[in-house]
Amino acid sequence: MGSIIKISGPVVIAEGMSDAKMYDVVKVGNPKLTGEIIGFEGDKATIQVYEETAGIGPGEPVESTNMQLSVELGPGIMGQIYDGIQRPLEVLNAMSGCFMARGIDAPSIDKKKKWDFVPLAKKGDSVSQGQIIGTVKETELIEHRIMVPPGISGKLLLISEGKHTVEETIAVIETSSGKKEISMLQRWPVRKGRPYKERLAPNAPLVTGQRIIDTFFPIAKGGVAAIPGGFGTGKTITQHQLAKWADAQVVVYVGCGERGNEMTEVLEEFPHLKDPRSGRPLMERTVLIANTSNMPFAAREASIYTGITIAEYYRDMGYSVALMGDSTSRWAEALREISARLEEMPGEEGYPAYLPSRIAAFYERAGRVISLSGIEGSLSAIGAVSPPGGDLSEPVSQGTLKVVKAFWALDTALAYRRHFPAINWLTSYSLYLDAVSGYWKKFGEDWRELRAKAMALLQKESELQEIVRLVGVESLSINDRILLETARSLREDFLYQNAYHEVDTYASERKQYGMLKIILDLHEARMKMAFEGQPAKDILMMKVTADIAKMRLVPEKEMESKFLAIEKEIRERKSSPGGM
């Protein structure tokens, strides 16, 4: 046991620590605050403390747990809300009330609950690390697949069907170094990625139900995306939308240094919202990590690692997992703060020089893989970025831009005009188009061409708008005026999507394709009318535009018939009576 010699905010130095190792979790001072060793000099350890350090002083004891900062993995994680170091917030609330007390500890996973373990392997089988040897029904949605912990392989001497707590032995394996008892509980150090067999290139979209994302700037399963924007531009709402509607089987949502009320919103809403594919409450597939802005910032630094380790664990079971981090900037700021307390040499804007490599290493843990058990799983990561003043030239945005492949640039001007999601269609991009095109062909052979055409029209619109500003719309050719009309319709009737509207909040692939097709078909029809020399008034003022404006609000069930009717109207080219 060592003793404290120095305290400066969350950084504590203790001497007499020669028994401890780098990255060990330690209990600091009389209140036994949780900390992690982040540096050594002789027998002096530098400790990052995950709780408020006020009131502790030199001479107080520091004790190592001889364990690295790890998460507990096993049945019982799903549906939980944890803080940044995986303390269960519901249990803490029951133990110490509505304000976070210090020095309290509670098991991350319920150790008393019994789960019905169903073996998939039998005595005498030879099993290897990562292999799935049985299952447990964790929630209605999630079958928890129990895997042989990494590093263990051999012959199954025993496997025990039936009700067990997570700590009870469910299997015994004869390894080259003796018998190993296996329970349903594993630990894994959060700062180290979990192993897998092989990494694969992404080949399917993570369908989010958000039109501008799925159709324009898709993210693939196993892909990485960033969503940067100033305050109030829609980072959190977009992340919530993805957590609600993305076709991932498991969602890990990390609230990193943001608002408490936003976590409450998820906690209150998700048990009532139904997953559009399974019809089950969303909470059955969701894990929440909440280290809000007023909670100790050292734990904020750890929170995204806690989140991604849990995500990897479910990936290893063969699930498609999506992780949202809101906001990675707050994580980077915590890193900066700790670096400053360690008196490291500050780099750009005070961030440590290793910031870019830490950002890259985090996103690198996403991917589509063949797990050790031989089945495919994926982990998609979507990080919000909060640049000061909305200016993307700062280090966190720049470090993120270098590694992500889908980039959804939120735009303050669009948010100000209440165009939501305020994702700028001219500056955003996705490098997953090739990866997802095959999937979209199922909905329409020409998906990729339609998308390209829509993008080109919007690009042209921004050029034409310059001219219109100078000389007015009247001076444009009829073709250009048609183009402006189509671009307006793309923006208002397709890209605009109200997260709060019960129908509009989610659009299926079929609906997205159908809407885009209709808007572009009308464009073609108008171009033909112009070629035939019909009057501008008839071309620009068509009755069908009113129905097109309402497409977003058409429930999926009525979509087929409504969209067919619109297509028919476009063919009939009715202009609106009396014009506008």
Partner: protein, 464 residues
């Protein structure tokens, strides 16, 4: 806390800026409060760092005049505390919790650490209920919700003190539950402080208020404690005495400048525009103390006020505030110049929590429709105004002209109101309808037909 008995030392070894180093100290703890006694005068300070038996102390009132051998430093063995009881209502304190209203010190129920503890995110309840401020552009379009933090972004010379006083006077919850105001002034002038105190007294608001006043010439560092004093009082009233508490804090810009001053004195590596890198986290420990808690009747709502340096919303103070708070109310210099009071620019203003706190059973069933329609029509009106400024009014279509007139009337009748005028939400919505009736009915696309039938003035007359 390790020690609760005060220990005294005469071992100050160096002084620099507001910092003292005290040697051969035993049992000092991080963050504890100290008293520095010098020639019969007592100053206060806080332990910033302890290294073996050396303590680095920050002196709130500064170190001028302190000479080493004569100075005694007393370690108090605890953090800064505020003594509380229900008798704090009606009282005025300085920024450090000492009464300045000439009345005796309160007899405390208990003493609370002013830093509080973070609310467990699991324990929160989502804010859902309306607070009526009496100001149409807030209640109607940027509704304040119990448990919300909604700042006012102002600029130098704009009438935010008047608005704050008006809200303090008229703000109420309409279900009859107990309501209190905690007012924290940071770095304001003596005159401004007098204005607030007088206005609280004149309106009688003082009866259900607690005031903490830190003046511009009070120690800057005391300013760091002031909002925490106020929020500690608020937490006591809200979560132990079941009151709905509105905390008004002005001016957060002075607070942030004090934070910068201290960081500079500690020779920390400065962040953006000289403000410390941890300012976001520091502000969050203030703003996140707003909220509702599961199983508790009371709530804390915050209305922080800040002046944007150079009217620049990207300045770190409004920027970091906006990243934490749940929306913002923006004051506009052009509106102020054209005589509109309160000069609230509704377009860039936003209450993020309004949607679930308005409507039937909360305010009125047509609220959401009226809000969206007024917003959209005013936006169209402002666009028409911009267009008219370039091309002249003659270039406008009849519809655009209509919107142009609407925008002017909206600013005059809806946004403008007297400093003594307390509008109910019904009055606010009715003014909204009166203005909307200036527009052709088919332009009211955001209003449900049943609300038009029920509330549109033209239809109401038909009914009579």
């Amino acid at each position: 806390m390790a020690a609760s008995v005060a220990k005294e030392y005469k071992t100050v070894s160096s002084v620099s800026g507001p910092l003292l180093v005290v040697e051969k100290v035993s049992g000092a703890t991080y963050g504890e409060i100290v008293e520095i006694i010098h020639q019969g005068e007592t100053r206060r300070g806080k332990v910033l760092e302890v290294n073996r038996d050396r303590a680095l102390v920050q002196v709130f009132e500064g170190t001028s005049g302190i000479d080493l051998p004569k100075t005694r430093v007393r370690f108090m063995g605890k953090g800064i505390e505020l003594p509380v009881s229900e008798d704090i209502l009606g009282r005025i304190f300085d920024g450090f919790g000492t009464p300045i209203d000439g009345k005796p010190a309160i007899i405390p129920d208990k003493s609370l650490d002013i830093n509080g503890s973070p609310i467990n995110p699991y324990s929160r309840d989502y804010p859902l209920d309306f607070i009526q401020t009496g100001i149409s552009s807030i209640d109607g379009l940027n509704t304040l919700i119990r448990g919300q933090k909604l700042p006012i972004f102002s600029g130098a010379g704009l009438p935010h003190p008047q608005i704050a006083a008006q809200i303090a006077k008229y703000a109420k919850v309409r279900d009859g539950s107990q309501f209190a105001i905690v007012f924290a002034a940071m770095g304001i002038t003596f005159e401004e402080a007098n204005f607030f105190i007088q206005s609280f007294k004149d309106s009688g608001a003082i009866e259900h208020s607690v005031m903490f006043i830190n003046l511009a010439d009070d120690p800057a560092i005391e300013r760091i404690a002031t909002p925490r004093m106020a929020l500690t009082a608020a937490e006591y009233l809200a979560f132990e005495k079941e009151m709905h508490v509105l905390v008004i804090m002005s001016d957060m810009t002075n607070y942030c400048e004090a934070l910068r001053e201290i960081a500079a004195a500690r020779k920390e590596v400065p962040g953006r525009r000289g403000y410390p890198g941890y300012m976001y986290t520091d502000l969050a420990t203030i703003y996140e103390r707003a909220g509702r808690i599961h199983g508790k009747k009371g709530s804390i709502t915050q209305l922080p006020i800040l002046t944007m340096p150079d009217d620049d919303i990207t300045h770190p103070i409004p920027d970091l505030t906006g990243y934490i708070t749940e929306g913002q109310i923006l004051l506009s210099r052009p509106l102020h110049r054209s005589g509109v009071y309160p000069p609230i620019d509704v377009l860039p203003s936003l209450s993020r929590l309004k949607d679930r706190g308005i409507g039937k059973g909360k305010t009125r069933e047509d609220h959401s429709d009226v809000l969206n329609q007024l917003y959209a029509a005013y936006a169209s009106g402002k666009e028409a105004r911009d267009l008219a400024a370039i091309l002249g009014e003659t270039a406008l279509s009849p519809l655009d002209l209509n919107f142009l007139k609407f925008a002017a009337a909206f600013e005059k009748k809806f946004v403008s109101q007297g400093a003594e005028e307390d509008r109910t939400i019904e009055q606010t919505l009715d003014i909204g309808w009166e203005l909307l009736s200036m527009l052709p009915e088919e332009e009211l696309k955001r209003v449900k037909p049943e609300n038009i039938a029920k509330y549109h003035p033209a239809h109401m007359q038909n009914k009579k």
